[in-house]
């Protein structure tokens, strides 16, 4: 007890305003988070009320004094939900500017600027080339940074949505005076509050006194069922304790007086909200891979840069020359277009998904869905419609399934059904208004809806007006009403309730044509029917009636419901009805397909184990009767290891009666064992799990605001089948992203190698830094993005989720750097040598020429034919050669776009049906023309208006590459040479 209260006080300390523990704001946030992840530990609902009043220092009649309340408010802070500490936008912006490749590009840019500064300080008329390049690199960096900032910086609205659930005013008793306009955020522990029908409970309260008080706990359990709460004994689990009403739940019936046990962040809702707002979802599998890949590339580029810088300084190159080398190496190694391409491809898929009624809020979630290994689904509202319906009827000694087509004809002339219908219409507290709308609790609404299909219930109610009523309560477990039959001038008693209560009171039973006495056999049959219905998770109600003897009970007889003056025995049993929240139609098929795709589906619900098991069986989450069902209290006693072990041992698991925190624990357990977890949910209670999951999926129609706010994906039509489409799209986009990345990386090779050739063989630079940027961020972009539009190559749903299949595999790198990239490089070098040769510089002449070529002082460099070139003329020729190299790369990349369309099949099999890609390739060509020919633009990008014949130089190589790749794929398909190519290059 001591430890509990001490931990309690430490929690409340942690949530006091003004940071009492003097922690750094981020530490405070994480400490709060770890505290919130624990289950609520308190005994405030168990100790006698008297002790509670002493503990809270309040008076059961007078309430707190205003001064005491003000003191407590000052100490513990207002009764609101505290938003999580968020990074300010400057920090996020800074992070966006310095992630991934940005650092390398910043390095390149600063090298450019340093080189420029050295140049202007040493030379009288320094060229501004380095300044220019530096500015371009900075611009690239800033634009990419702003782009990812726009992606990353979403101010979290989660807390705001939670705060919307809280009322403004409450009825609070202080100093013995009831003030109906007390601000909810002024409430403190120990306040007495009154809650009436329609009110939202303003804090976690323990009931002192109540009448017919019922609350809808859906914000915490996800089940919109009105549960009675009264001043009774508490149970150990506070969430199920019948003497506590929680913050934000709505009172649907009666009234109550309660004492506030805890406020704000410490309430059950506050904990859910705190978790949802503070939890950081783990980075998605895709971004994990991109980060890993970027780290490798950056390390490689830096290492190479350092190596080259070191060796060129050792070899005695001047500093300026060294910086040129290093800048070239860095810019060439970094695939600048990777991040924008992936983002654009995902955006396109997201837009595609919107057409399928799937709103993707977090782009990477769509790919994560493809990789997902486990789906943890909420039951109510996700797998089911969250609407009670009559499913089965047992009457006249037979069971009927109401969905059966023959049902209508079977009951047409059934007297028992007529009486059952009357009983159902009358024995109900639900109201029907003039337009036919029904207001009442879920079961009664379901019953009235069901009978409404067969008769006009309003006219039945008119003919048989209600004269007395005993409402349902948890002790009696039945409800009774007495009606006057104005036609026969008799009174009719109708009764509805739990079968075990009703059956014992019945002596006769209504059969199809006549009444009969309730024999033991029939009673047994009724019991079996009840058991059967209960096993399918249905809520069972029995109906009975009794026509009172007009002699004993004449008109205007005064029925007294408190001291019963009419019989509730010897009734006539009309029938038994099974109600349930039926699963959505498409769910079973969808779960089947999801499971075929190797994804495990688990159910996590706040509902009863039996119902959960029944629904699990019905929708196919469980395939056998004895699937493993774990309840919240089982979970409570489990260590994380044991939970992991259980998850591993049982494939089909249903979690029932779980609290929001437990949902979160299950998700985290799955993630710990390496799974990628999707959570579907619609309620406030799902919010932490939705947030923590790799993919949070919420329902668009029935989902709560909070769940939509925390989810990554929203199913706009609540259709579970959309998840299947999502998995399919996610897997497809992953396959296609591989192609995009492969495509982008291939052009990296002809960018890196020229720099190496330049350094090693001292030829004039074959590809300039500006043109590298043109390829990476210009011509390559559209084709790379449009590869994401390729149709799936094989049945993506027929294979298990990827677990060890990375985006960038060593096979892809082998193919890129060892094969295709090299062919592209030879094409570029060929084009370069040809243009040089056509102008008089034969290849042999070029090797080692750089010291003269790049020397501005030398005005007469001789070519192979004796002509002498000034510096300006040489540089112009160099630009022409670089432009030809660029064009060769573009031509090769166009071929490559066609090659990358397929990883396995032959292109002749696939065809060129991807219009976006076709346009992309045309665009690539057009863009490179623009870069080369538009005056001003070509100056900007340091290109040159080429002769048209130079465009064809790369063609033989593109044919070679195409044939080579088709051959390679042929070998892969046939597994030739013992699957040599499969092992080497099948990415």
């Amino acid at each position: 007890m001591n430890s509990k209260s001490s931990s309690l006080s430490s929690i409340s300390d942690l949530f006091r305003p003004n940071n009492p523990k003097r922690l750094r704001s981020r530490d405070l946030s994480s400490t709060r988070l770890s505290v919130l992840k624990k289950e609520i530990q308190t005994d405030m609902h168990l100790i006698p009320l008297k002790d509670l009043f002493v503990l809270l220092g309040t008076d059961p009649v007078q309430g707190l004094t205003s001064t005491r309340a003000a003191e407590l408010l000052e100490y513990y802070g207002p009764n609101t939900l505290t938003p999580a500490t968020q990074y300010g936008w400057p920090k996020v912006l800074f992070k966006s500017l310095c992630t991934g490749f940005s650092i390398l590009i910043w390095l390149g840019a600063s090298l450019c600027l340093i080189a420029y500064l050295i140049e202007i300080s040493t030379k009288p008329n320094a060229s501004s080339d380095n300044l220019y390049l530096g500015c371009v690199l900075i611009a690239v960096d800033v634009i990419c940074g702003l782009f990812s900032f726009y992606q990353n910086y979403k101010s979290s609205k989660i807390m705001k949505t939670f705060n919307n659930m809280i009322p403004q005013y409450s009825n609070c008793i202080r100093d013995g005076v009831l003030n109906s306009e007390t601000q909810v955020h002024d409430l403190v522990k120990g306040d007495l509050v009154q809650v009436k029908i329609g009110d939202v409970v303003p804090a976690d309260i323990r009931i002192i006194n109540s009448k017919g008080f019922k609350v809808d706990n859906s914000s915490l359990t996800g089940e919109s069922v009105a549960v009675p709460r009264s001043n009774s004994e508490g149970t150990a689990n506070i969430l199920e304790s019948p003497n506590v009403a929680f913050f934000s739940t709505q009172c649907v019936e009666g009234w109550a007086l309660g004492v506030v046990m805890c406020c704000g962040d410490l309430t059950a809702l506050g904990r859910v909200a705190g978790l949802a707002a503070r939890l950081q979802p783990a980075p998605s599998p895709l971004s994990r891979e991109i980060i890993r890949f970027m780290r490798y590339v950056s390390a490689w580029a830096l290492l190479l840069g350092l190596f080259i810088a070191g060796s060129s300084i050792v070899l005695g190159y001047p500093f300026m020359q060294t910086t040129v080398f290093v800048i070239g190496i860095i810019v060439a190694n970094v695939p600048e277009g990777l991040q924008p391409t992936i983002t654009a491809a995902l955006t396109l898929t997201a837009q595609h998904m919107i057409k399928k009624n799937c709103l993707v809020k977090n782009l990477e979630a769509i790919e994560a869905l493809g990789a997902c290994t486990t789906i943890c689904s909420d039951k109510t509202g996700t797998l089911t419609e969250n609407k009670m319906c009559v499913q089965h009827i047992w009457m006249a000694n037979a069971s009927y399934f109401v969905m059966e087509p023959e049902f209508n004809s079977l009951i047409q002339h059934n007297l028992a059904f007529r009486d059952l219908k009357n009983c159902g219409a009358l024995c109900s507290t639900a109201t029907i208004n003039t337009t036919g709308e029904i207001h009442g609790d879920a079961s009664e609404t379901a019953i009235l809806n069901f009978f409404g299909k067969y008769d006009d219930l309003k006219s039945i109610r008119k003919i048989l007006p209600k004269v007395a009523e005993i409402p349902f309560n948890s002790v009696n477990k039945y409800q009774v009403s007495v009606h006057l039959n104005s036609v026969t001038s008799t009174y009719l008693v109708v009764m509805k309730g739990a079968p075990e209560c009703i059956l014992t009171r019945c002596t006769t039973i209504a059969l199809e044509k006549k009444d009969a006495s309730l024999t033991t056999e029939i009673r047994k049959a009724a019991d079996t029917a009840c058991d059967n219905l209960a096993n399918t998770g249905e809520r069972i109600l029995a109906f009975a009636d009794l026509i009172l003897d007009p002699a004993k009970y004449p008109l205007n007889y005064n029925f007294d419901t408190d001291n019963l003056n009419f019989p509730l025995e010897k009734l006539r049993l009309l029938g038994i009805m099974g109600l349930m929240d039926p699963p959505r139609k498409e769910v079973r098929r969808s779960i089947e397909r999801v499971r075929e795709a190797g994804v495990r589906v688990m159910m996590i619900t706040g509902d009863h184990p039996a119902t959960a098991r029944a629904i699990a069986l019905e929708v196919g989450i469980a395939t056998t009767e004895n699937c493993h069902v774990l309840t919240g209290s089982d979970l409570r006693n489990m260590t994380p290891d044991l939970l992991n072990w259980t998850l591993e041992k049982h494939y089909e698991i249903v979690f029932a009666r779980t609290s929001p925190t437990q949902k979160l624990q299950i998700v985290e357990a799955c993630q710990r064992s390496g799974g990628v977890v999707a959570v579907t949910g619609d309620g406030v209670n799902d919010a932490p799990a939705l947030r923590r999951a790799d993919i949070g999926i919420s329902m668009g129609i029935t989902g709560s605001q909070v769940s939509k706010q925390t989810a990554d994906i929203i199913l706009m039509d609540d259709n579970f089948a959309t998840i299947v489409t999502g998995i399919e799209e996610g897997r497809k986009i992953f396959d296609n992203l591989k192609k995009s990345v492969c495509y982008i990386l291939i052009s990296n090779v002809p960018e890196i190698l020229p720099v190496l050739v330049f350094i090693l063989f001292s030829v004039p630079l074959p590809l300039g830094v500006m043109t590298i940027l043109c390829v990476d961020l210009g011509t390559d972009m559209w084709p790379a993005v449009s590869l994401a539009h390729e149709p799936a190559e094989s049945d993506v749903m027929a294979r298990p989720p990827r677990t060890s299949d990375p985006l960038v595999s060593s096979r892809m790198l082998t193919l890129v750097y060892g094969h295709l990239g090299l062919i592209e490089f030879t094409a570029g070098m060929f084009a370069y040598f040809i243009v040089m040769a056509e102008h008089g510089f034969y290849p042999a002449e070029l090797f080692g020429i750089r010291r003269y070529w790049d020397n501005e002082a030398i005005n007469d460099v001789r070519d192979s034919l004796g002509q002498e070139w000034t510096y300006a003329e040489r540089k112009e020729l160099e630009r022409a050669c670089q432009a030809t190299y660029f064009v060769a790369v573009v031509v090769m990349q166009i071929t490559n776009g066609i090659i990358c369309k397929t990883r396995y099949n032959s292109l002749f099999h696939i065809g060129m049906r991807n219009k976006v890609l076709n346009f992309g390739l045309l665009f690539e060509f057009a863009l490179s023309c623009m870069i080369c020919y538009i005056p001003g633009v070509n100056n900007f990008f340091r290109t040159y208006p080429l002769r048209w014949r130079w465009w064809f130089l790369a063609l033989p190589f593109s044919v070679l590459m195409f044939i080579f790749d088709e051959l390679r794929k042929y070998c892969i398909r046939r597994k030739m040479f013992g699957g040599w190519f499969n092992k080497l290059t099948y990415y």
Binding site: D860, Q867, T870, A872
Partner: protein, 323 residues
């Protein structure tokens, strides 16, 4: 619960966690499988063979393509000429002696007139440059095509198919090797040459008409003197100090053997033994101990001048010390 965890141990056995170093060592050489760097010996052999063949084929294809392309080229003539080529039709100028190109982007001719070594260094650079001009007549070990050189004069007739005009560098007194190009006398010679452009034909200022306004007065008067004569068909040369101070410091300038490049040397058509005509610029008495910025320009109707792009001109600095 304790029992359950025991059972759990049977089910849950993560792979033994190798240390990073251990894993790397096994990657280097795995004694169990005989793998070396992740591959067995035969696997390495196969992959090396594959890449050998693949790269050989690629290089072969590359070479074959280059060879095929070379068939379309003329060994003597550039494919693109004059304005069709990037070289254009506006030659620049070159100067000798040039500082060592390893000596970063310098155009400074600096020496000490009374330091033998310093003088000899520059004289050697010029000697090396003039080597090809010296190899005259036939005989073994000499530059090929030297036998094609014939003396030319403004009045001599058309050359034979193989013949080229000789450049008589021994007549460049005092800028001769024997005189160490006059460097010791603190009056250094700098040799100028016009960049060779295939098939380029000068349009000389051979009379006083249309002389550009920015042409130096002394050159104008020189052209006036020779106007109309055959020797007026010359690409004229002028050297001046770049800034007013340089103009003052540069002192008198002599152009040897004449004030330009006679047009009978043109066009350059890559004939064997062709020599680029030279003008030795003798700075008779440059001020010692100061750096002088000098710009030399070539003058013809089809040479356009641009200081920034060094078109039709050349820039160098001269500094003579006499300590």
């Amino acid at each position: 619960m304790a029992d359950k965890t025991k059972v759990a141990e049977q089910y849950y056995a993560p792979p033994p966690d190798l240390g990073k170093w251990e894993a790397f060592r096994i990657f280097l050489y795995n004694s169990e499988t005989g793998q070396f760097l992740g591959r067995t010996g035969s696997s390495w052999a196969k992959i090396l063979l594959f890449y050998l063949i693949f790269y050989a084929a690629l290089v072969g294809f590359f070479a074959a393509m280059l060879a095929i392309f070379y068939q379309t080229l003329d060994a003597k003539m550039p494919k693109w000429q004059l304005d069709g080529s990037i070289i254009g039709s506006n030659p620049g100028l070159g100067f000798r002696p040039m500082p060592d190109s390893a000596n970063v982007e310098s155009t400074l001719i600096y020496y000490k007139a009374n330091d033998k070594g310093s003088v000899l260094k520059w004289a050697k650079v010029i000697d090396e440059f003039l080597e090809q001009y010296r190899k005259k007549g036939s005989g073994s070990g000499e530059a090929s095509g030297a036998e094609n050189r014939v003396p030319c004069s403004p009045t001599s007739g058309a050359l034979g198919e193989k013949q080229v005009c000789d450049v008589p560098i021994d007549e460049f007194h005092p800028c001769t090797a024997a005189n160490q190009y006059n460097y010791e006398a603190a009056g250094p010679c700098v040799f100028l040459k016009l960049n060779k452009i295939f098939n380029w034909q000068p349009k000389p200022y051979n009379n006083t008409e249309d002389l550009p306004g920015n042409m130096p007065e002394d050159l104008k008067s020189h052209i006036k003197m020779v106007s109309g004569k055959p020797e007026a068909n010359t690409v004229w040369v002028s050297c001046e100090g770049e800034n007013p101070a340089d103009v003052e410091n540069i002192g008198p300038v002599q152009y040897i053997p004449r004030r330009g490049f006679p047009s009978y040397y043109y066009p350059f058509t890559n004939k064997e033994g062709y020599l680029s005509p030279l003008v030795a610029v003798l700075f008779e008495k440059p001020r010692t101990g100061v750096l002088i910025n000098i710009e030399c320009k070539a003058w013809a109707k089809n040479i356009f001048y641009d200081r920034y792009e060094r078109r039709g001109s050349v820039h160098f600095e001269l500094m003579v010390d006499r300590s």
